[in-house]
């Protein structure tokens, strides 16, 4: 079981996964003149939470589900069918079957998340953030099943790594979805302070106002994780794709995305 401190540690912007280097599309939205003040930042955060936030949280929750099988996990049931629970000698094949089932699910989640990420820049960013998070996860929880992540050249998608990492920390599925949803708004909010010179107290008050929506998004994502991967949320935001590809063409930028 996770302690409250572990939840705080994993959700903390200071967790060494490079989250501070990303603005979640805000830098391009500011440059386009679409986000100029607190009110437009709030609308940006609300829209981001309902789209990228929901999708990322659902995939993190689904990866967590693959790592921490519940009694409803059909794959797991099939994988361990016929293996006597008490037989010590059966442990190893059981673990192998579990690992194989987990690899299959994670590979499926990986291609499903690709299909939800139309902009190639956003796919690259997600995999790069996944790599950074994986370095931290492997160093902190060396026994976690990160080896079951698909071996994609660019790295595994960030939400998949986050799901396994939160499972390793002992967090619940809902906590995992909350960490993911929370990260999508707090990163962009603190980027807003830097990009627009906004009053940090006012921006923090904005986040407090979004806390219910963040919890609601996490709860929806955690519930959705019981659906098959193709049915997971696919909330789209045309401007997120457009902003990401504009941002990628800049030679000088404050944030990596």
């Amino acid at each position: 079981m996770a302690t409250p401190s572990l939840l705080l540690l994993v959700a903390d912007g200071r967790f060494p996964a490079g989250a501070h280097a990303h603005s979640g599309g805000l830098e391009a939205a500011v440059a386009a003149g679409r986000v100029t003040d607190l009110a437009s930042l709030e609308a940006f955060l609300a829209g981001r939470l309902a789209t990228a936030g929901l999708v990322g949280a659902a995939f993190a929750a689904a990866a967590h589900r693959a790592a921490v099988p519940g009694i409803t996990d059909a794959d797991e049931a099939a994988g361990s069918a016929g293996v006597a629970e008490s037989a010590g000698s059966a442990r190893r094949p059981d673990a192998l079957a579990r690992s194989a089932a987990r690899s299959r699910t994670l590979a499926q989640l990986d291609v499903e998340l690709d299909a939800r990420t139309a902009a190639p820049t956003l796919r690259t960013v997600s995999r790069r953030q996944g790599r950074a998070l994986l370095r931290a996860g492997r160093a902190i929880w060396p026994d976690a099943p990160f080896g079951d992540l698909p071996a994609s050249p660019g790295g595994a998608h960030q939400p998949l790594v986050l799901g396994l990492l939160c499972a390793a920390a002992g967090l619940s599925r809902l906590d995992t979805a909350t960490v993911a949803a929370y990260g999508t708004v707090t990163g962009a909010a603190s980027a807003g302070v830097r990009l627009l010179g906004l009053d940090p107290y006012q921006v923090q008050a904005l986040l407090v106002g979004l806390a219910d929506a963040c919890d609601g998004t996490a709860a929806e994502a955690a519930r959705a994780a019981d659906d098959p991967p193709e049915r997971l949320p696919a909330a789209a935001a045309p401007l997120a794709d457009i902003h990401a590809e504009i941002h990628a063409t800049w030679e000088v930028r404050l944030f990596a995305s």
Binding site: V35, V111, D114, A115, T121, A234, A235, A237, P238, D241
Partner: protein, 238 residues
């Protein structure tokens, strides 16, 4: 109102396409129009107003190996409110077999004030088949805020996920008009082109139109926002 329409096309073996099944029910009526160079062309004619909340409309399209079909609609469809609490649904499912081509190029969907509409597309494209699939959404009639509309698109290529997106607008979609989603644009849409013969192209952006190469197959998605339907269409010609 419930309706099911079905279109099945087969290659005739002489470079042309025959429609072996073309069946509609009001308000989904299918009409074959003059063929264009071996491509069977069908227009979907709205036989009633709507869709109205409570309507459940389904269109099934199957394009057999080597056949080519182009589907248009004669006019924009306007999602309107109906029974309180009810949702209107238009579900299009299409199967495009090997060597076949499907062009789905309907007019816009307009989400009128107070509507509750779900537009669902599920497309299975065999490896080596081609597809052009356009979706355009206009948020409200002139000077009007839209009701709730969700445009969900799910496309597989060669049995692998190619595109999954679900765009939600209206009062129950937080931030939809804001700078993270549509940025105040009242028109938005996408054109998906699956074409195994076309070389992969890098992503580009021009204003509020992006060309995005997809990960799951030889496919490109044009995605755009625009102030009006006319400008949007000009962006989505591929």
């Amino acid at each position: 109102m419930r309706a099911l329409a079905r279109l099945v096309a087969r290659a005739d073996g002489r470079g042309g396409t025959v429609l072996v099944e073309l069946h509609g029910e009001t308000p989904l009526l299918l009409r074959q129009t003059p063929t264009d160079g071996g491509v069977a062309t069908v227009h979907l004619v709205g036989g009633a107003a709507g869709p109205l909340a409570g309507d459940d409309l389904r269109l099934e399209i199957e394009v057999g190996p080597g056949a080519a079909v182009r589907v248009h609609t004669v006019a924009a469809s306007i999602a309107l409110p109906g029974r309180p609490g009810a949702v209107s649904r238009m579900a299009v499912s299409a199967v495009v077999h090997a060597g076949a081509t499907l062009h789905w190029l309907p007019e816009q969907l307009v989400a009128a004030a107070g509507c509750a509409h779900l537009a669902e597309s599920r497309v299975a494209v065999a490896a080596g088949a081609s597809l052009r699939w356009r979706d355009e959404l206009i948020c409200g009639r002139y000077g009007e805020a839209p009701g709730g509309a969700v445009v969900h698109t799910q496309v597989d290529y060669g049995g692998r996920p190619l595109l999954r997106q679900s765009l939600a607008v209206g009062p129950r979609a937080p931030g939809w008009a804001g700078p993270a989603v549509l940025g105040g644009a009242s028109a938005t849409g996408s054109l998906l082109v699956v074409d195994p013969s076309r070389p992969a192209e890098p992503a580009t952006v021009d204003g509020t139109v992006a060309r995005l190469p997809l990960a799951g197959g030889p496919a490109t998605l044009w995605t755009a926002t625009a102030p009006d339907a006319h400008t949007l269409r000009a962006h989505l010609t591929g």
